[in-house]
């Protein structure tokens, strides 16, 4: 057994160039699988954060549809109570939009925005009401006085308003029923996409197996003389078969480890850049990630050995006379 290992290792060392081609096939296949698995894992760990961002994007779209082009217009923001994370993010987005002026009252001013304690409404195109405190009644008259166009977006459905909506004030809910439906639609799309990626990963694994088989068959053909010679020296067929299986196990293991590292790196980098590395490393489930890594390596090694079965049998069954006669 150890001799088979020794010869297999030597064989790989010498044929390093061609072994690398086989290894890279394994690396790519496993990297693809691992990137899908790791991607799913990270994505679900960051699910809450993703949802938040999706909501904020929707809210931003709502504002845009109400306001149209932001330049030259004034936006008014009134904050009542503490803001939740969604509202914080939304506020950041709003301050990044190219409004002429943004006036904010009640909350902490984001940098660079003039804060006016009153008269938020003067010349304001749109009023956005944020903050989770729904009990304190909001004096709508004061807020909307002097608004150029009366429109109101609110993030909390149950907020109390003093005196009922004055005529002409259109009140839209930032997070209303429509967005819930939209969220459901987006979730369904995400599920479809996930199914598709799993399907593609499975197919790519088949391709990996086939390419490993092919590369090993080529290797066997190249080494026909060597195999015939070994048989003349007394090597059993089982020995030859074992040699090729061990060689493919090594290649499979090395390639799987490399593929696993590459495949897990890419989603980490992408999601880290999108959501922030600190959030990523905080939320990530390391136990599940480690299990997926181990699983991918095992899968890759096993697949390589499965792919080697046919070439190994082909080599083991060779008759020395025809092997040595060949012109390869």
């Amino acid at each position: 057994m150890s001799r088979a290992v020794q010869i297999a290792v030597q064989g790989i060392r010498i044929r390093l160039g061609r072994s690398l081609v086989t290894v890279s096939g394994v690396v790519l296949g496993i990297a693809f699988l691992m990137s899908n698995v790791a991607g799913q894992l990270i994505s679900s760990s960051l699910a809450r954060e993703k949802e938040t961002r999706q909501i904020v994007t929707l809210m931003e779209a709502l504002v845009r549809s109400e306001v149209g082009a932001a330049s030259g217009k004034t936006l008014g923001i009134a904050v009542f109570g503490a803001m939740n994370r969604t509202e914080h993010l939304f506020l950041n987005r709003l301050s990044a939009m190219p409004f002429e002026t943004i006036r904010i009252t009640g909350g902490k001013c984001p940098r660079g925005i003039p804060c006016a304690p009153q008269d938020v409404g003067a010349g304001t195109y749109l009023l956005v009401v944020l903050g989770q405190d729904e009990s304190a009644p909001v004096a709508l008259d004061d807020l909307t006085r002097g608004m150029a166009r009366v429109g109101l977006l609110d993030s909390v459905e149950a907020r109390t308003y003093e005196n009922r909506k004055p005529d002409g004030v259109k009140r839209e809910l930032l997070f209303g029923k429509e967005t819930v439906e939209q969220m459901a639609r987006m979730q369904a799309q995400a599920d479809q996409a996930r199914f598709r990626t799993i399907w593609v990963a499975v197919i790519s694994l088949f391709v990996t197996i086939i390419s490993i088989s092919n590369a090993l068959l080529m290797s066997v053909t190249e080494r026909i003389r060597e195999i015939g010679t070994m048989k003349c020296l007394g090597a059993l067929s089982a020995f030859i078969r074992r040699m090729f299986l061990i060689e493919s196990a090594f290649i499979g293991f090395a390639g799987s480890v490399a593929g696993m590292l590459l495949g897990s790196l890419i989603p980490i980098l992408i999601y880290g850049w999108m959501f922030g590395f600190d959030l990523l490393f905080r939320e990530l489930s390391y136990a599940r990630l480690a299990a997926s890594c181990a699983g991918c390596v095992v899968v890759g090694t096993l697949l390589s050995m499965v792919a080697a079965i046919y070439p190994a049998n082909f080599a083991a069954r060779m008759v020395p006379a025809s092997a040595l006669r060949s012109n390869v």
Partner: protein
């Protein structure tokens, strides 16, 4: 087809028959490729005496290589029987065949067939490993054999670093690794220059005389024929004649 039966013990008693290390009886070999059939051997019969130096000669296409493979246990006949040391090789299972190739027969090929990735001594030690001999004992034995073939001091060189003659010597050393009874050499001097070829032939002769090894070669080399005990001629799948070197006028005989 007449051949010199005075040199054979026909239907002899067991003691005489035990003088034959290899017997081939009416061996036929047919190769089928698609619909065409090639009859490489058409009923060749060979009796090889223990401890002799036998050369097999024949033109290309005569079945020489096929017969060679048969008597060496490298292939099985389509019909007929081959006995190596009174054992019918067709009855051997893979383990026994491997044992035969490992312990009983040493093979030497025209193109050396050394494992390029291993050094000389590793090449010689490889069959020992298959025979279960390992470690320091194997190493010392291998060094001894390399000495005997005249390759002292080249143990760690790789085949690519050596000349053809030296590589052939390594091949001979490897064939001798497990002290076999039979040496099978297929055109051993074909790729060698005159001088090296002569050295190899002398080496075979010494192995035969000093160690009692049966040496069987397939060859076109006149120098080798002259040093043999017997020469077997094969033509068209059958043994056409068996002679001794002095029975032939080797300068006039057509070699091909």
């Amino acid at each position: 087809m007449a051949f010199n039966r005075e040199l054979f013990f026909e239907n002899a008693d067991a003691s005489a028959r035990s003088g034959f290390v290899i017997r081939a009886v009416e061996v036929r070999k047919v190769y089928r490729m698609g619909e065409t059939e090639t009859h490489a051997l058409r009923g060749a019969s060979v009796d090889i005496i223990r401890g002799e130096y036998l050369s097999i000669m024949g033109p290309s296409g005569s079945g020489k290589s096929t017969l060679f493979n048969m008597i060496g246990g490298l292939d099985k006949p389509t019909e007929g029987k081959v006995y190596i040391d009174q054992v019918d090789i067709a009855q051997l299972d893979p383990y026994e065949l491997a044992w035969l190739r490992c312990r009983k027969v040493g093979y030497i090929f025209q193109s050396y067939n050394l494992i390029q990735v291993m050094s000389c001594i590793e090449n010689v030690m490889l069959p020992m490993a298959f025979a279960g001999l390992d470690g320091e004992e194997a190493r010392e034995k291998a060094l001894g054999i390399l000495d005997r073939v005249g390759l002292t001091g080249r143990a760690l060189h790789k085949p690519s670093e050596m000349s053809g003659g030296q590589q052939q010597r390594v091949a001979v050393a490897r064939a001798l690794a497990n002290s076999p009874d039979i040496l099978l050499a297929d055109e051993p001097t074909a790729n060698l220059d005159l001088k090296t070829g002569e050295e190899i032939i002398l080496l075979f002769r010494r192995l035969c005389d000093e160690l009692g090894v049966t040496v069987i070669t397939a060859t076109h080399d006149l120098k080798m024929l002259k040093k043999s005990d017997r020469i077997m001629w094969i033509e068209d799948g059958l043994i056409s004649k068996v002679t001794t070197p002095d029975q032939m006028n080797l300068h006039e005989e057509e070699v091909h």
